[in-house]
Symmetry: D2
Subunit: 203 residues, 4 copies
Amino acid sequence: MDSLRRLEEIFAHFPGIGPRQARRFVYYLLNKSPASLKEFTDLVQEVKKGTSECDMCRRIFIHAKKPSNVCSICADPNRDHATLMVVARDSDYESIEKSGAYRGLYFILGGTVPILDKEPEKRIRLEKLLRRVSGSPAIREIILSLNTTPDGENTEHVVSVALRALPLNSNCKISILGRGLSTGAELEYVDGETIKNALQNRH
Amino acid sequence: MDSLRRLEEIFAHFPGIGPRQARRFVYYLLNKSPASLKEFTDLVQEVKKGTSECDMCRRIFIHAKKPSNVCSICADPNRDHATLMVVARDSDYESIEKSGAYRGLYFILGGTVPILDKEPEKRIRLEKLLRRVSGSPAIREIILSLNTTPDGENTEHVVSVALRALPLNSNCKISILGRGLSTGAELEYVDGETIKNALQNRH
Amino acid sequence: MDSLRRLEEIFAHFPGIGPRQARRFVYYLLNKSPASLKEFTDLVQEVKKGTSECDMCRRIFIHAKKPSNVCSICADPNRDHATLMVVARDSDYESIEKSGAYRGLYFILGGTVPILDKEPEKRIRLEKLLRRVSGSPAIREIILSLNTTPDGENTEHVVSVALRALPLNSNCKISILGRGLSTGAELEYVDGETIKNALQNRH
Amino acid sequence: MDSLRRLEEIFAHFPGIGPRQARRFVYYLLNKSPASLKEFTDLVQEVKKGTSECDMCRRIFIHAKKPSNVCSICADPNRDHATLMVVARDSDYESIEKSGAYRGLYFILGGTVPILDKEPEKRIRLEKLLRRVSGSPAIREIILSLNTTPDGENTEHVVSVALRALPLNSNCKISILGRGLSTGAELEYVDGETIKNALQNRH
């Protein structure tokens, strides 16, 4: 029966899970009662049905009784609708929200573009982003908030090039997060590029 | 909708998974297509149906076409049926099998008994072990292979007391794994108890 | 004989060394030949005599044949003498030099000021810094490059307050390193304060 | 001046110290006052003079007023003089003493023999061990307590071969520390060789 190997394989694709832990997950489930397993698989389906991808920001959100197409952030009149932050994943916007430092809207790319990747549009929701931006002339700033890793920087480049090709209104600027020393940084151990950035952005 | 929190909770009980990663699992699944999710939940159910708990050793095993009650190890005439190794979990017997050092049979307790626990019989398959042993007068040695952690040592104690209360034939001995220096141990960093054991078991 | 304990104590004050490793150092030395030990202690004395603290930046530097009072950086006409970077320790300026991003001069404080410390002037060369700055009207910018740790930020505050109390020429500005995302940062794991800084310093 | 590099090199040979920390040690010392440095180098010399290598066990020990050739352990009539434990280093016998599990005498080899090393007698005090053993017909057991690392096992082999070539009295046995599960071991993560040993040494 190969379904066991296949299930292990699926778990091994879960974020942060290797083959060994994937195997432990399978054993863990097999030792559960049929009732527990049914609750688990039912919940997975139910949760999928109870959530939607927001038409505006592509965030996964829990819809209230009637299915809605716009999430609570995009629908919130108290947020700053003139600022749009582009992030790679749901976990990134969550981190930003938790900081309490941002009051604008988001757009979730759904992934990153590895360097030399030939088909970036298959990795991220580039077309949907361009449509979202084109349809909102009120947007004054688009903040590209990507990881400062090679993949993140490449994604920033790809998105930036595509946005600049749009006939954006002249008041809309594209910005990126400031680079420099993070909290708790010790100069002795900081890499040269970060020192360069911290010096350039000194104030 | 609380089903999202409930699913997070379930993932947080997976081995080695904390609340943060549990949340990432939920997002990961929510970003999958309905078809992928269906494959996943179907596989969980299918795998559960395609496996059984062995009547003899309580191992989870994949049964062949016709459901069988005895696993391939317990049914193997080439294994040593006079030696029974008691382990806590499936992952423990796998580790022993991989070492290639053991040719007897196993019994999986299904857990461990924390210190001061009042109802050990709810934590481990103690009664099933006693029945397994009582019904097999051919057993000459029962090896208790538990972790050398507080829980493991307490489980060893509980199982050992229960086994010794049985009217075992006088040829059957109960043994435990040798204690001492593990591979790669450096004396400078070895704890006092291990040094004591290594000295006692010197040869 | 307490000299052994005293030597252990001295080693335990070496950067990054705990009591256990201090003890190993003592044993290590005791197992050396008298000739090796003499080479070691002679070198310590020789190196001390062969180096000086630069009169201008307080860096330890190796002086050429004739003892000199000014180090090679402070004496270099090709460096930018209008910019002074204040760092806590020798290892910090080394890290900055290695980045290749800075061409000005340095001043080494010789330490940091812990929060609530009553006598900061005993912890850092504050008076010498003030004299260095007062005596150099050509200085246009003083960059405070301290760790972004609590001690570093407190030191930055102490130094900044003292510098601003000087009758500096109106062209001289005091700046600090830019804060934001460091190289390789992943938004999901970045702390809230850094996100706040990165947003504020976006460009 | 190359004495600085040479001092760095010497520190980089201290146990557990890499080139980076060696450099920090040099800076640390250079920032000390001449008086502190004199105390340090004087102590190193004084400690060396105040300690001796025990003629019997080769341990470094602090001698009382009159220089003595035998350490307090070897001179202690309450210890078991019929048992000799051979260890690689001072830190190893310290670890054994701390366990409180051993009351015999020691012999410190002063190092280990790497695999394929051509001149083991230059690495360890093999000849002195053979003389120590030959001159003490009262010894009943020699315990080889080496790390269970490749170097440790090779040293055990070299010493064992040399000891067995001696005309030892027939009552003297050579033993090694027991191998098996160390305290806190979890079977799931234990290597195959340790499982093999633990099974072999079960009791």
